[in-house]
Symmetry: C2
Subunit: 670 residues, 2 copies
Amino acid sequence: MSKSTNVNPDLQREREKCSFNITELTNLLDGGPQMTEERRRREATVLNEGIHIEEVPSEYLSHKEKYELAVKKACLLFKLIRRLQEEENTGMESFRAVLGGTLGAAILQDGSPLTLHYVMFIPTIMGQATVEQQAYWIGRAFNLDIVGTYAQTELGHGTFIRGLETTATYDPKTKEFVLHSPTLTAYKWWPGGLAHTANYCIVMAQLYTNGQCHGIHPFIVQLRDEETHMPLPGIKVGEIGAKLGMNGTNNGFLGFEHVRIPREHMLMKNSQVLEDGTYVKSPSSKLTYGTMMFVRVVIVKDMCNYIAKAVTIATRYSAVRRQSQPKPDEPEPQIIDYLTQQHKLMVGIATAHAFQLSAEWIWNMYNNVTAELDAGDMERLPELHALSCCLKAVTTADAAECVERCRLACGGHGYMLASNLPITYGHVTAACTYEGENTVLLLQTARYLVKAWQQSSGGNELPPTVAYLSRVGAGRRSPPWDNTIEGIIRGFEVVAAGKIGLCVMNIERRQKSGLSYEDAWNMTSVQLTQASEAHCRVFILTSYFEETERLVKNASPELREVLLQLVDLYVVYWALQRVGDLLRFTSISERDIEKLQHWYEDLLTKLRPNAVGLVDAFDLRDEILHSALGAYDGRVYERLMEEALKSPLNAEPVNQSFHKYLKPFMQGKL
Amino acid sequence: MSKSTNVNPDLQREREKCSFNITELTNLLDGGPQMTEERRRREATVLNEGIHIEEVPSEYLSHKEKYELAVKKACLLFKLIRRLQEEENTGMESFRAVLGGTLGAAILQDGSPLTLHYVMFIPTIMGQATVEQQAYWIGRAFNLDIVGTYAQTELGHGTFIRGLETTATYDPKTKEFVLHSPTLTAYKWWPGGLAHTANYCIVMAQLYTNGQCHGIHPFIVQLRDEETHMPLPGIKVGEIGAKLGMNGTNNGFLGFEHVRIPREHMLMKNSQVLEDGTYVKSPSSKLTYGTMMFVRVVIVKDMCNYIAKAVTIATRYSAVRRQSQPKPDEPEPQIIDYLTQQHKLMVGIATAHAFQLSAEWIWNMYNNVTAELDAGDMERLPELHALSCCLKAVTTADAAECVERCRLACGGHGYMLASNLPITYGHVTAACTYEGENTVLLLQTARYLVKAWQQSSGGNELPPTVAYLSRVGAGRRSPPWDNTIEGIIRGFEVVAAGKIGLCVMNIERRQKSGLSYEDAWNMTSVQLTQASEAHCRVFILTSYFEETERLVKNASPELREVLLQLVDLYVVYWALQRVGDLLRFTSISERDIEKLQHWYEDLLTKLRPNAVGLVDAFDLRDEILHSALGAYDGRVYERLMEEALKSPLNAEPVNQSFHKYLKPFMQGKL
């Protein structure tokens, strides 16, 4: 925490009236005091290096300069990580500690062209190369003799992996694979670091051998000369152009003109091509699910961080900003005193908690399932997959909404890049698309839910996260409405079950009317995405509620009270957001709804005095927030002016365009 | 329409199966064939100048270069407008024709530093200066002897105008006003063109004379030397820094250190300060409402344009993009064949129509009310004000959602700036904040609605746009549900009335429990914003439905059918979005809801074959769409690659950062 001596008095007053111990909450969110200690020490070590300090803020640079700055920062940061690895002898752990969470992102604001080397290139070799291949490649990759990336998506093909067009055809005469891009749409498109940074790449391509296609397999391909960095013959590589955000990631395109690589460059831990071209199939095709699910769990954790950041910025700003005069003769109130503003902020704070606890829950499940997998038990894999799909979709969509709501809650100043809210949104909204587009993911979960529903109707027992389907089952409106938190969560179970049931009915009805299953599915797919979302709400509400109940057992009474208020707020908020669903599928009454509304307004008022304390507890250093509106000291206006003065346009009183265009124009001489 | 010979065959097929005449719809949207003709001629004239063509796309430039490009473009565009004015002898009409709508925005992608000169500086002089002042200033401004802007908002003060801090103190000894910024928060902040472009400015400041404050008044202040463009003594001027979007607008800050201006520089059409310092009050304070409302109506029209643009891009892309393989042995379908995709696109098309017709309706009302005002009749002013507030809030929020939904519907490619969707979002979301922050505006409408409700309860007759409050009044659930378009719209009236009634009840209840009216209002304000939005929905649904019914009377049967389908889609979509409200306040049943859902799905299927025809009818030239994904010819992938190759990073095979950072880093020598 960066404490300034000169704190805005309104913000100071907020901190004084906080009812709980802020450090206690920080420790709880970190997972214990020693974890807080460790995180803070790590942050101090890394930030003391000053890699994050920009001479000219990167938003004023050209696209090309942004890339060059990103390379510089990434090299310095990874150099630091290597040093830490040696000093602390921690191996990959140092990467996770520095790059995971908010710290790495604070330094690599615009993304980094080296991230995929560590996050995809090395792990893919570790996961899919044979022992001999690993011996050859891993050391070179770790030592950075080579810099790699991972190329799967193509210009014309994203989500549907089977549709990829790049081919790798085995030539038994030379014992080589020939990589080729048969069309423009076959060009690889998007991989980070691919454009001008990486000299090697893992390429996913359709494997052809002995005239037969065996589907998508991974190959290591050299792209650039190791000395000169010039693209090798037959390699068409470049960058894909400017994006909404993350312009430091150096996303690239890659096309092949009959490029030959040795047979040994196919990663053969699973499937193999023998010297004579014989294809030996992988024993299981589900083994690659693991990384995908791991990445999705990481995304959920990222979403907590982004929300925490945005809501810290907006809440502190709302305590400093004053506006209007509802009562004559009284000063302009802090805008956080407006209920509409509390409505925009408080649910953000609760969402950060809810997602963190949901992420921990699914993280544990992931570890259990992985352990079971290693023991050959794949039973819970589909359940985990279904859960990770909808959770990724719902948390990224909610996070985008939260961050954007926070930005808009800061009025015009939220539109300034100096607020750091637009850039945060750029990162969050990207997550709605990458690693599985959200609508596609919701439909994957829906497929599992429909199956579970049918199994349940068939009298089969269901896995834990869908067990409620059997419990609340077919009977609509059956249980009397219970206007408590537990009652609302049970209500959401009834809603989810009701929606899934309705989807199944609609699909069957459409099949009976003559449609194929696929067409009936498609016609019902809008409803299916909604059913899938409803299922995910059940999971988030349940895990947030249950995990908080568990956590607060050891908390002080003051903290317990506020954490439970936040859970209440979150659950009641969602009940009001989904009141139509509750009215359709449960026996909630108009009187219950009006009570919920008052409960909600009452909770906002109760949480209001603790708002700043709650965001302080996220313990995000000023360097991590990187926001003129959100700094710990609340010197909002001073910082906005300081940031403005950094604009290169302000370095000269008169810009050259005056002489070049404006004056001639005014004089009619242009 | 820019027709290429080489159209993507999928897109070609879409056009062939369109059931209606596209030109007929274009004419109808334009207001007649001669209007289409005129617009096209205007577009051709302006675009032939080539001002919009960028050597290097502006997204690759530095912040400073972006400004310089914006000045150049703005000067060239306004020079062209001057030429057209002379050639066609049209006066201000040429400005509106070129700058209004989509044409000006297509050239000034990033906003323009000269816009406020025309949109605020000149109109304010025209509206608030005396005849003598106009004689002096208007000519100079029109001739561009001076370039001006308009400064109201301050660093610490936005919506609440009475809170502005800048002072203008009259000194009768010298017959001057002294302009001063007493604090940092008093600095003017945001005005477009203020930073480095304008040399004059209208400044809104607290007028002090004879020791008394008389509130906010307008003053003309010279900022820069007319020859050298250097800031004058006591003037602190500069730019506020980079923003989410519109980085060509040159938004500036402005502080005064006891800057003296002649008495004649106060705009005195309304209030005056006499030589001896005597203050003479304006006869009416409502006269300035006009411009504010005018601007809001213009915003609604802008929102149509942005939505039309985004939905054209996303729909054409969805016809070209193919993905997945739901049925084995069949090719990957066009993604527009997925119901979930239709769900994202079709409501956007309908929204553009709905907003256009709502904008026309309120435009007519605005003109009537202005005419009444001129005749001294102010009766409908509050009603118009209330309607313009909520309509600005709801249409900007809906437009932001529509545009973002379109962007996400294009997957990863929507994240590319080459799609033009991120930049479009940047413009639209800005409108949620400027010219009245949306939550504040909704609460202004709510204040009117509460008053109307109380008048109605008192038996008074209500103005037309709120007359439904008396009609559906207090009785809840009274009329039997009618599952038709008219029935749904009546249902929305019941909802809005129910919500307003509930708000009034809650405010009164809270007052009875001891709260002041202001606190009771604040505690109910979340509900009040929702009531206000519900009222706005009634207006939009009604005007869209009624105006379409009127319009299609003269349309061909084919066009009539599809336009009515779109109205149905829009109304049913909103019924399903607001099903909770309908269940709470009307007698709609679960069976009705399921019917609505099927009706909706059925409408999507019916509209599907006409999707491309419908967006073609918006008749947005490729130069206006400015999108690799949305061009008329559908050469999506070719254009994406062409755009990528324009990146300056792709001009060199090896970027200097390799030698400077990456290679030393890899060799452990960094």
